[in-house]
């Protein structure tokens, strides 16, 4: 891992943190407002690849553990890593990894450019699988464990957030595609 890798990892950790600072969108009946922060792992995986994207989110978890208010709403601290949303926070690491792995496998950066819609479409699917399916599995598993609910009930509980995250995945795919056109970068 060279210096440039460290810089990219830190930059994408900073992006996830900065996304948490954007205003949250409260929705009437939900106990949790919708944040942009879950866009972070998808972007990281899609743009710097599985290993670096995952490490960026290990860094985010580290920042939370250090007691820095990097989670949406200015939260942080050890309590958050043991609380109900801990599955999602740790899940970002795996989400970024899976998204990155799929992007790297499917999209060809370099000379042989697939069509725009193939590139965006595949990236979108990668973001959905990594940033939603895998992430929610992690989040729901932890919730099921911690709340004593069955997995099925935990999943149906968090399912309400999925439509919003599908929109985020679409944005992530479009952003990744456009960024790659301006500045292609290998997916490590």
């Amino acid at each position: 891992m060279n210096t440039r890798d460290i810089v990219l990892i830190a930059l994408f950790a900073a992006i996830t943190v900065a996304l948490g600072l954007a205003p949250r969108i409260p929705v009437a009946f939900l106990p949790v407002p919708i944040t942009l922060q879950s866009l972070g792992p998808m972007l990281a995986g899609a743009m710097i690849g599985p290993v670096r994207g995952a490490l960026a989110h290990v860094l985010v978890v580290l920042l939370v553990a250090l007691g820095l208010p990097v989670l949406a709403g200015g939260s942080g601290g050890l309590g958050m890593l043991a609380g109900p949303t801990a599955g999602f926070i740790f899940g970002w690491i795996i989400a970024a990894f899976v998204t990155g792995l799929l992007c790297r496998t499917w999209t060809v950066s370099g000379k042989a450019r697939p069509s725009k819609w193939a590139d965006v479409g595949l990236t979108f699917i990668a973001c959905v699988i990594g940033g939603i399916v895998v992430l929610y599995a992690c989040g729901a598993l932890w919730l099921a464990f911690v709340a004593g609910l069955g997995l099925a009930k935990a999943v149906s509980g968090v399912a309400v957030f999925i439509p919003g995250d599908l929109v985020k995945a679409a944005f992530a795919a479009l952003i990744a595609h456009n960024v790659r056109r301006a500045y292609p970068i290998e997916l490590k």
Binding site: M1, N2, T3, R4, I6, V7, L8, I9, A10, L11, A13, A14, I15, V17, A18, L21, P31, V32, L43, M47, L59, L62, L63, A65, L66, G67, L68, P69, G73, G74, S75, G76, G77, L78, G79, M80, L81, A82, G83, P84, T85, L143, V146, A147, G148, L149, K153, G157, F171, L174, I175, N178, V179, A182, Y183, I185
Partner: protein, 213 residues
Amino acid sequence: MTGTLYIRGHSPLHRIPAGIKLAALCLFGLALFALDNWIVMGLAAAVSLGLLASTGIDPAQARRQLTGPFIIVAFLMAATALLVDPLLGLAVGLRLMALLVAGYAVTLTTPVSAMLEVIERLFSPLDRIGLVSSAKIALSVSLVFRFIPVLIDQARVIREAQAARGMEKNILALLVPLIVHVLRSADDIAAAIDARGYPPAHGANRGNAHEHT
């Protein structure tokens, strides 16, 4: 934003070394998950609240930090109580509260540099394989803090330029140039870091990030 959750003070929790607090918190968590008895959870929650009070935190600030997670906990408690068993629901709610509050109390009384030192020590076996080093960790943490305000400023610059063209609602038009800018800087930043003698030769840099907080 560059503040931390840590508050200065002289409470007993402040004086206990970070490593011990972290280990105790882990044991506390393990114990709580091993049981389902609501009375035990209630006691644990009471103990946690007592610890929190001893830190000297301003109650309004504590309320601001804990309200969000507590609402989720209340939700989960209700769900478990209704769908599985009322007493289990109570236990679940009290357990989560105990963990959230105890974790918060430890975070409030442990400065970032102390926590960083503990984590670096925990990672030191990996250090021997050459995977992570305290220099890398300290540098990464500082880089994140160096770049968050830059990202925010850059975002504002881009946003203003777009507002002038009537595009301010467009999130794509904000994030794409922002990220391209960030990626372009990465090469130069890495070069600048290399040019200043990084990585340090054999453990020369046992630095702690954020010594000023």
